[in-house]
């Protein structure tokens, strides 16, 4: 193996690729811009959406209650709901988002309460629709309050203490660190994005260095030089690998900086429950994640090279690589699903394993055994992909496919 020749090929490919606008875009601009956009952008959008939904006075329909003037009057006095005239198609109106919720007061509600009966109040909502849930929530709060007041009156009438119906209280207390809480919330998503960016960063150089060479007619030029095909493909591989790793590194740096910026921006603002955005991701976690991504970057680079080498031109390479993006995105998405936890069999599935272990790392949990298993298995897959790429580079039917 002549490292000198590999170095010559690598340096040329690096110079050449850095002058390619598409490669620079996918390697530098996308990871730098995407991370802040995804974190801050998504955060701002969701806060705005939530805020707007919370500020809105939900339109509510009251069904029945004509014989219960007391509860009806209290409902009509509520300032945080807007009562609209009753119509029989309330369910359809909720589904069509014309009104947010409806409440059905059973016949003789006021009298039933006075007589100690247990009437049922029904609240109709569009489950999963934020504004409808907020509307239903306000109705729920009103009736819960009314129930508490009725209980208090009944206890007072019988001269009984309030603690009769509340013998003890229940409190939930979070024991996970702020890093773990924020990691579990955002950690699932971010490693997946970094993995996808690692692939996309390597995609353009891989196509340019293989199918692009065929299309531009330089493949015959380079094959007429004395450099061996093994050295040539290894030199090209190192360039693609550099792009993959550099993109992942930039994405991580961008992620770290986004959280650092978030920390200073949110300094002094009250925390939302135990979720501390500013706890963010530690440098240690980013470093560990980077180490775990290295064999995956080798796998991506070699696979991309091998597939795009098979293509006759750039366009064909793009059509071959598009399904690969989906194949990589699938395990990355699966890793985010609730209940998908890292275990020994999943540690052997490429991409999914790195995505899952990165999720754990970001939340501050280091499963050293699994990390070793994932690193070794990823190295194994990467070696196979590299071997295939080298073999394909020796095949005339692939190099001169017409």
């Amino acid at each position: 193996m002549s490292w000198r020749n590999i170095g010559v090929v690598y340096r040329k490919e690096l110079t050449d690729s850095l002058r390619d606008r598409r490669t620079v875009m996918s390697m530098v601009l996308v990871p730098i811009l995407l991370m802040p956009m995804l974190t801050i952008g998504a955060g701002v959008v969701s806060v705005l959406m939530f805020g707007k939904a919370m500020q809105e006075t939900p339109t509510v329909m009251i069904i029945g209650g004509e014989d219960s003037p007391r509860v009806l009057a209290q409902l009509l006095q509520l300032s945080d709901i807007a009562v609209v005239p009753t119509r029989p198609d309330y369910a359809e109106e909720i589904s069509n988002k014309q009104i947010r919720a409806a409440v059905e007061i059973p016949r003789g509600f006021d009298a039933a309460i006075e007589h100690g009966e247990v009437p049922t109040v029904r609240i109709y909502l569009y489950q999963g629709e934020l504004r409808s849930v907020f509307g239903a929530d306000r109705l729920q709060r009103f009736f819960s309050g009314l129930r508490d007041r009725v209980i208090s009156q009944r206890l007072a009438a019988r001269q009984l203490p309030e603690n009769l119906i509340q013998p003890f209280r229940i409190e939930q207390k979070n024991v996970a660190s702020a890093e773990k809480v924020s990691g579990a919330t955002i950690g699932g998503l971010m490693p997946s994005f970094i993995i996808i960016l690692c692939l996309s960063g390597a995609m353009y150089p891989a196509m340019d260095l293989t199918a692009g060479e065929k299309e531009r007619g330089t493949i015959e030029t380079i094959l007429s030089s004395p450099v061996s095909r093994v050295h040539l493909v290894v030199g090209k591989f190192f360039m693609v690998f550099t792009a993959a790793l550099f993109t992942a590194l930039l994405a991580m740096a961008s992620l770290g900086l986004t959280f650092a910026a978030g920390k200073s921006m949110l300094a002094g603002t009250p925390q939302l429950n135990d979720f501390d955005f500013t706890a963010g991701i530690s440098v240690r976690a980013l470093a560990a994640m980077f180490v775990m991504i290295i064999p995956l970057a080798v796998l991506f680079s070699a696979a991309l090279l091998a597939i795009s080498l098979f293509a006759k031109n750039y366009r064909e390479a793009q059509s071959y690589l598009s399904p690969l993006t989906i194949i990589v995105m699938l395990p990355a998405i699966v890793s985010v699903l609730p209940g998908v936890e890292l275990n020994a069999p999943l540690s052997l599935i490429p991409v999914l394993n790195t995505s899952l272990v990165s999720k754990e790392i970001v939340s501050g949990t280091y499963h050293w055994g699994y990390m070793l298993l994932i690193f070794v298995s990823s190295c194994f897959y990467a070696a196979i992909a590299l071997w295939v790429a080298i073999r394909l580079f020796q095949k005339e039917s692939v190099l001169f496919r017409t």
């Binding site: 090929v9 040329k12 050449d16 390619d20 531009r216 094959l223 007429s224 030089s225 005339e396």
Partner: protein
């Protein structure tokens, strides 16, 4: 020196089955002489030259180029040839100088030797645009850079595959002049063409190839004497038809 010995090359095609592009071709090119492979499109010229340049592996037979066997020492063969064809394009995003230097490095040249060699070549070929990117060059300029690329390591053997195909008159003249220069320097020159006038002007020996087989070879005078015809085109047509 190039010595082809029963060189054959087969391809497998999913539609047409096995194609015998080159069939037991044997010939010899001497240093200081130009050997022209004359043939129609699809006759097997490009495959023969690509096999000799070790870009393709022969299915049967072998050849020795500059003293090295194409099967045993393909890298040494490539280190001793300059290969130029219309398919050997330049890297568009590299400058003319970077392009030639890249190949110099691949041929094991470094530092001052390479720098001086590139300067000499550019001066001789009148490449006064060393820092311009190759994708911004005219066809003629690109040809000059390609010639510099093939000569950077001063190879004893030159292989040209239809080097003037698709070029304008001026660019084609540059190439023809360059081939003559190579002969004068004592290099072994093998080139393929389907242009009769070019073969007549340049070749010391002409080999007529058709259907992957070398039908006949000799100097122009020998071919004329053998066929009783004067015009190379007539000789070519009769040879191919026979």
């Amino acid at each position: 020196m190039i010595e082809a010995d029963k060189l054959s090359k087969q391809f497998r095609d999913s539609h047409r089955g096995t194609i015998r592009a080159v069939n037991a071709v044997s010939f010899r090119c001497q240093p200081g002489r130009v050997y022209g492979l004359l043939g129609a499109n699809g006759a097997g010229k490009t495959t023969t030259l690509r096999t000799l340049a070790t870009i393709l592996k022969p299915s049967e037979g072998t050849a020795r180029v500059a003293g090295y066997d194409i099967l045993r020492d393909p890298e040494k063969v490539r280190a001793n040839i300059g290969f130029l064809s219309t398919a050997t394009a330049l890297y568009g995003r590299l400058s003319a100088k970077e392009m030639v230097e890249y190949f110099g490095h691949l041929f094991g040249m470094d530092g001052e030797t390479l720098r001086r060699r590139v300067e000499t070549l550019f001066a001789r070929l009148e490449v006064d645009f060393p820092d311009r990117r190759c994708d911004s060059l005219s066809t003629g300029m690109k040809q000059k850079v390609s010639i510099a690329r093939t000569l950077v390591h001063d190879p004893p053997v030159m292989i040209f595959d239809e080097p003037t195909s698709g070029l304008d008159v001026m660019s084609a003249r540059t190439i023809v002049g360059f081939i003559r220069e190579c002969r004068e320097q004592g290099k072994t020159v093998l080139f393929s063409t389907h242009v009769m006038s070019e073969a007549e002007k340049l070749c010391d020996t002409i080999g007529i190839i058709h259907g992957g087989c070398l039908k006949t070879e000799g100097t122009l005078a020998e071919l004329r004497a053998r066929s009783g015809l004067q015009d190379l085109e007539d000789i070519f047509v009769r040879t191919v038809a026979s």
